[in-house]
Amino acid sequence: MTVAQSPAPQPVLRLSGISKSFPGVRALSDVQLELHAGEVTALIGENGAGKSTIVKVLTGIYQPDAGVIEVAGQATTFPTADAAARAGVTAIHQETVLFDELTVAENIFLGHAPRTRFGLIDWAAMEAQSRELLARIGATLNPRAVLRDLGIASKHLVAIARALSIDARVVIMDEPTAALSHKEIHELYDLVERLKAEGKAILFISHKFDEIFQIADRYTVFRDGQFIGAGRMADVTEGQLVQMMVGRSVDQIFPARTRNIGAPVLTVSGYSHPTEFADIGFTLHKGEILGFYGLVGAGRSEVMQSLFGITAPSKGACRIGERVIAIRSTAQAIDEGIVYVPEDRGKQGAVKGLPIFQNITLPSLGRMNTSGFLNMAREFKLARDYTQRLDLRAASLDQDVGLLSGGNQQKVVIAKWLATKPRVIILDEPTKGIDIGSKAAVHEFMAELAAEGLAVIMVSSEIPEILGMSDRVIVMREGRIAAELTGPDMTPERLVRAAAGIPEAA
């Protein structure tokens, strides 16, 4: 814009003076947010900055303690999720909230399906309209497919089609690319452009700066539940955004490491599973960070969960040092010193409902005993030691883990495992969906662990992270090891080619 003083067009949605508190936490205090038709607004902030809370306010799940919501200039409230939907606000969440057992068409039209004149669902019309909506976003999905059978990227498409079906004016995308592969991300970008062209106002939440600079028109920054700033992307640099976000400058470079790789700790050979993976073999050394790269669905997590005793392999052997072991339960894996930080924090990582300290001591309860009884003082001490080491932010150790932000929940899960004094720590997408500040802390921490002699496996889909942190990278494709890269071979091109099965350029 050349004339900065010209009155800005009226925003589709404006929040002002919004505050929201929970017991012990002030999640939002006096924040504002504007969304404009045909523009993408990036909401930027560290974990715990209040992004998820504002999304819940926007979608009618939380009621703000104070503040005004205006839709097209009219003050309104969203007392229920339904009210928000009727006002044209729809959200595509981090973990997309759809119904796995229903078909694509049913998911798109749930709650507003076309009716026949007898008031019954008009299946033919529903299917036809689904096809139309899916075509509009360039998706080639069968409306009759059951959602359970689709990948995350396809589920996103269904969620977007659903948003179009209710003629949403505001589309909230909460980390839509977190679980997507490279190609899928580009398809999503195209889709965002299409939604813009249709005049939708888009709120885009992401931790990836390249992404934000690529598709956002405006930005809004939150920090610790407060509004820090907003403006046009064209007027801001990455450095300035980071500065606003963290309130300090963050060293975005991966931590320098002194590599001190020792004897083999874990040797896996011929590991196979009837459907998920085949013939996996590798050796992990003391002090090493071994990266596992691959597209979503390449079988990386399945291999790791098998090493952790969740699923038994059909074939293959595993050795700790020189000793052959057959891991058949998680308790046994932990006894052998193998621990796993899962990708799905909410479901597999933190036990929400239990306080922080009890989460941390859960796998170490055997050591928390005095003559058979739990010693709570000892539990608190252990929790204190490890939460301090990880710089956890919480009101108290007695607080429910479910009240913490994603990044802090991740810290609790990592603390829980470090407290068991493991030999091998497997981190599955350890920085997925967490902010730059926490990310750097996790990276630095991983480097520290390796330096202390721990053997680290890191599963990641982020190329910079894989290349920046790993000593060696194993690339998996369709359940098999496609390549093992070391030293100068560790380049983005080689990784992508191996993961996608494209032969090396001549």
């Binding site: 339960s329 932990i334 990582g349 239990l354 301090q388």
Partner: protein
């Protein structure tokens, strides 16, 4: 590397255990128990008498024994609706053993063993095969009592040995009956098990998030199986006490008791969705239910009114926190 910020000190607790206890569900239950006690003593001149009070305890001791185990089961996200039928089957087996000419020790052992076996069967279906416990135990509820009916028809076992009467009718000291003492001992035992051991912590973890519990190295399957075993054993113990107190076994023994046990557990503040609850809560709920039943008895209130009252109490208990929250929100 950037300089490390100084580590934050996170306090262990924000609220002291005392202030938390004062605002707890258990504190409310305690107040209710005191109120019922006072109301009873005004309502009937016969209430404030050591022997009458001692008699009142028989209204809850047997149910409470099962309720302790049931509380753990419900906290872990499971339920066992077959407990009353386990009593019927255990009592029937005890009658058979008695008829075969065995003495009190064998009769008691038979009752406990039957309880354990029933619990093991439930545990096998739920923990091992992964079937939903509500369905499994509705099935075994019919199964166990059905066997009892086949064995006994419209007959009854009577003529238990004299010394067998001790478990349901005997007194350890003064007004303190064997059942009351056993109730107290079990209350302490279950308190320690749930609140002071690794096993109890695993129960809470499983109730809140079984997947994350498994991913934290908890042997989820084993814990679930043990909980069903324990519930079966407690039902066996209750069967011994009840059979001894009644002096006979009929197949209709303890009919409907499973719902009173669940009522007791839920009234005690255990979340029916799993994940939270405490033994002191269940103890207080047991005492309240016992006092109310006894008070109504003294006032000659018919049994049906009593069950209406208990029904309202249960629904009120679950609805109260919701309603209070709704009111606060305005």
């Amino acid at each position: 590397m950037t300089t490390k910020p100084t580590p934050r000190v996170i306090p262990d607790r924000l609220t002291s255990p005392l202030s938390r206890a004062l605002r707890s569900w258990e504190a409310l239950l305690f107040a209710v128990a005191v109120a019922v006690f006072i109301a009873n003593s005004f309502a009937s001149p016969y209430f404030l008498n050591a022997w009458n009070l001692s008699d009142a305890t028989f209204n809850f001791t047997e149910k409470a024994m099962i309720a302790f185990a049931m509380a753990l089961l419900i906290i872990a996200g499971e339920i066992d609706l077959s407990v009353a039928s386990i009593i019927a089957l255990a009592s029937t087996v005890m009658g058979l053993v008695m008829t075969a000419g065995f003495g009190t020790p064998e009769i008691v052992l038979a009752g406990l063993a039957t309880g354990l076996a029933c619990g093991a069967l439930n545990g096998f279906f739920v923990a091992r095969l992964g079937l939903p416990s509500i369905v499994v135990t509705i099935g075994t509820m019919s199964l166990f009592r059905g066997i009892s009916y086949i064995v006994l028809g419209d007959q009854a076992f009577t003529g238990y040995p004299k010394d067998f009467a001790y478990f349901g009718q005997g007194y350890v000291w003064w007004v303190f009956s064997f059942e009351l003492v056993l109730f107290a001992v079990l209350a302490i035992g279950f308190y320690i098990l749930l609140h002071r051991t690794n096993f109890g912590r695993a129960v809470y973890a499983i109730g809140n998030n079984p997947t994350a519990a498994l991913f934290s190295g908890i042997r989820v399957e084993r814990v679930r199986f043990i909980l069903f075993l324990l519930t079966g054993l407690m039902s066996g113990i209750a069967a011994v006490c009840l059979t001894s107190r009644l002096g006979s076994t009929r197949p209709s023994i303890a009919t409907g008791m499973e719902l009173e046990v669940v009522t007791m557990v839920v009234l005690g503040g255990v979340s029916i969705l799993g994940g939270s609850g405490s033994i002191p809560g269940v103890v207080l709920a047991a005492i309240i239910m016992g006092l109310v039943t006894f008070g109504f008895g003294l006032l000659n209130v018919p049994g049906i009114v009593m069950s209406i009252f208990l029904g309202l109490l249960l629904i009120g208990t679950i609805a109260l926190p919701r309603l209070a929250k709704g009111l606060r929100r305005g």
